[in-house]
């Protein structure tokens, strides 16, 4: 059976995705990851560092952004590498809706059964990850 992965080539655009983070989502990630840095849940701690709001864990943004690749490829065990720069914090106000992050992926290269995917994550139109690239087996 032909799968979508048989037709992968440079320029292939992956289905995009939007995730939403509320304060509760940050607390959930703190517990799951064991990263309890208070700038991810406490207004006071964020203000002490000069931030104007609580910010999401960089690793939460990194982890959810990879879903654009793993949702597409099916088996997350196919991911070989993933690298990002944290260029801009994702502010998460204490509102019912929280903050939306839009995630897109496009294949840049395919060689030896491995696709190199460039990932973009935007919050309020601004890029929050720089140079985000994942290598994933598509053979």
């Amino acid at each position: 059976m032909m799968s979508a992965l048989d037709a992968v080539e440079p320029g292939t655009v992956l289905p995009s995705l939007t995730v939403r983070f509320t304060r509760t989502d940050l607390v959930r990630y703190a517990g799951a990851s064991t990263d309890f840095n208070p700038i991810h849940h406490s207004d006071r701690a964020a203000a002490e560092l000069g931030l104007d709001d609580v910010i999401a864990h960089g690793m939460l943004t990194m982890g959810t952004a990879l879903r654009v690749v793993t949702d597409w490829v099916g088996d997350p065990g196919r991911v070989l590498s993933y690298a990002v720069r944290f260029t801009r914090p994702v502010r998460v106000p204490d509102t019912a809706d929280g903050t939306a992050v839009d995630i897109e992926g496009v294949v840049k290269a395919v060689a030896d059964g491995v696709a190199t995917v460039s990932i973009e994550a935007r919050c309020g139109g601004e890029k929050v990850l720089g140079g985000a690239v994942a290598e994933v087996r598509v053979d």
């Binding site: 799951a32 990851s33 959810t64 990879l66 793993t70 070989l80 690298a83």
Partner: protein
């Protein structure tokens, strides 16, 4: 003496073994709002970035090394990279071994690159988690 280029190459003892559990994998996948069937069922794997749970535990050695004088609260995560040999699976007992691989300073701003090798207690490498941390050293007034 705070951290300097002379500390590049320093390797810390491996963390205590961590056993990946189905409950923790489920919790982590839920925190990523990820309902992939790969993370549930009878033989689940962990989401790729779950490796950071072990990585973060290994960071403890860096911040508790009195010679370096690093403070977590003055540290920002600048870059992160993972290279996987295979996914983590429930039941894996793994350790993290941290080494300092690069150091640069500009004034009070220090950029420290560290690599955490995540391996099973039998010695099978699972992944390497490489982080660049930006540490803003407190300068005496």
């Amino acid at each position: 003496m705070p951290i300097s280029e002379s500390h590049v190459g320093r390797v810390y003892p491996a963390t205590e073994p961590y056993v990946v559990s189905a409950a923790k994998v489920h919790e982590f996948a839920a925190a990523l709002q990820d309902d992939s069937p790969a993370y549930t069922g009878s033989d689940p794997i962990a989401p790729p970035t779950f490796a950071m749970v072990i990585g973060a535990a290994a960071w403890g050695a860096l911040f508790s090394d009195p010679e370096l004088g690093l403070e977590l609260r003055r540290t920002v995560h600048g870059e992160q990279r993972f290279d996987w040999d295979r996914p983590l699976r429930t039941g894996d007992a793994v350790t993290g071994t941290l080494s300092i691989t690069k150091f640069r300073a500009r004034g009070a701003t220090e950029m420290i690159t560290i690599a955490v090798e995540v391996a099973t207690t039998e010695g099978e490498r699972i992944c390497t988690a490489t982080s660049t941390l930006i540490h803003n050293r407190e300068v005496a007034a």
